[in-house]
């Protein structure tokens, strides 16, 4: 791996900037993501910071089923994200579509939507409905460790 890539990966692992993308979710996962910032969980102590733009993101935290309206936007956000970029499918909806797999506006699942743009995308799954904040932190930590 080139030196620059190693540095990028080190930066990502030490202080991942995550960009939150809601592709059609019920709010539960999104609220629990915000919970991570609050004093009880305080995810910033692990270096995790929410990014204001996908261009600054090391990881995309994707919630939701990926509705038909959100599909092309999700792909565009992925393209814009700085690479390397980890895609974290947060919650049952983002992992598989959950109970919405047969819903008329379902256009996911998220991993297939991302792989259409980048077959080699690194994708992580954190299941749960919603995943508890502890599970999210454990999932992110494990994903970073395995990178």
């Amino acid at each position: 791996m080139a030196v620059l890539d190693k540095v990028k990966l080190w930066g990502l692992k030490k202080s991942p900037w995550v960009y939150h993308v809601n592709t059609g979710a019920c709010n539960n996962c999104d609220i629990e993501v915000l919970e991570l910032l609050t004093p009880r969980f305080d995810v910033e102590r692990l270096g995790v910071v929410l990014a204001a733009s996908p261009r600054h993101a090391d990881a995309l935290m994707v919630t939701g089923v990926c509705t038909r309206q959100a599909r092309s936007r999700l792909q565009e956000i992925y393209r814009q994200a700085a690479k390397p970029c980890l895609v974290v499918c947060l919650g049952a909806c983002a992992c598989t579509g959950g109970i919405f797999q047969d819903a008329w506006h379902f256009a996911g699942p998220v991993d297939e939507v991302i792989r259409e743009v980048d077959p080699d995308a690194r994708i992580v799954y954190i299941p749960g409905c919603p995943p508890k904040p502890e599970a999210m932190i454990a999932g992110i930590a494990k994903a970073l460790h395995d990178l």
């Binding site: 038909r68 309206q69 819903a103 008329w104 506006h105 379902f106 256009a107």
Partner: protein
């Protein structure tokens, strides 16, 4: 001074008059009646302006040969829900929009148009509301005879 639910229903009957048919009262504070589509807007207007009811929402259903829209109004003071049914043939799915006289009906009429294909004549802004930009025209997910996706 506070009215009882029976008094409100009597007042309701006066307000809607002969336009309201097929009355049902399955519970003390739930009333259903049907109006011909030509009378829908005027009856809706009377419900909010003369009876002072609040518009809650509307339900669009494919009932076979016809499409049915039930407009749900509420008289909060007595916890009464007034349900006004309007039916239209599937082959000519047009009915007057209530929005000009019942402003909160605006979004739900657009939604029922998206999902069921009812055309609300006189709607001030009949654009697509809830389905994606690239959802095909003419595919109505709530219709029985169509597949759920496109």
């Amino acid at each position: 001074m506070a009215e009882t639910v029976d008094e409100v229903i009597r007042h309701l009957e006066e307000v809607v008059g002969s336009a309201a048919l097929k009355w049902e009262r399955p519970r003390p504070n739930r009333v259903y009646f049907t109006v011909a589509r030509d009378n829908a807007r005027e009856t809706g207007r009377r419900l909010v302006e003369d009876l002072g009811a609040r518009f809650a929402t509307a339900t669009g259903t494919d009932i076979g040969e016809e499409l049915e829209v039930i407009y749900h109004f509420e008289c909060d003071a007595v916890g009464l829900v007034v349900n006004m049914r309007v039916r239209t043939p599937k082959g000519d799915p047009v009915m007057p929009s209530l929005t000009p006289v019942v402003p909160p009906a605006e979004w739900i009429e657009r939604e029922i148009n998206d999902l069921l294909g009812v055309v609300f004549e006189g709607h001030p802004d009949p654009r697509r509301l809830i389905l994606a930009d690239d959802w095909p025209q003419g595919v109505y997910p709530l219709r029985r005879d169509q597949r759920n996706d496109a």
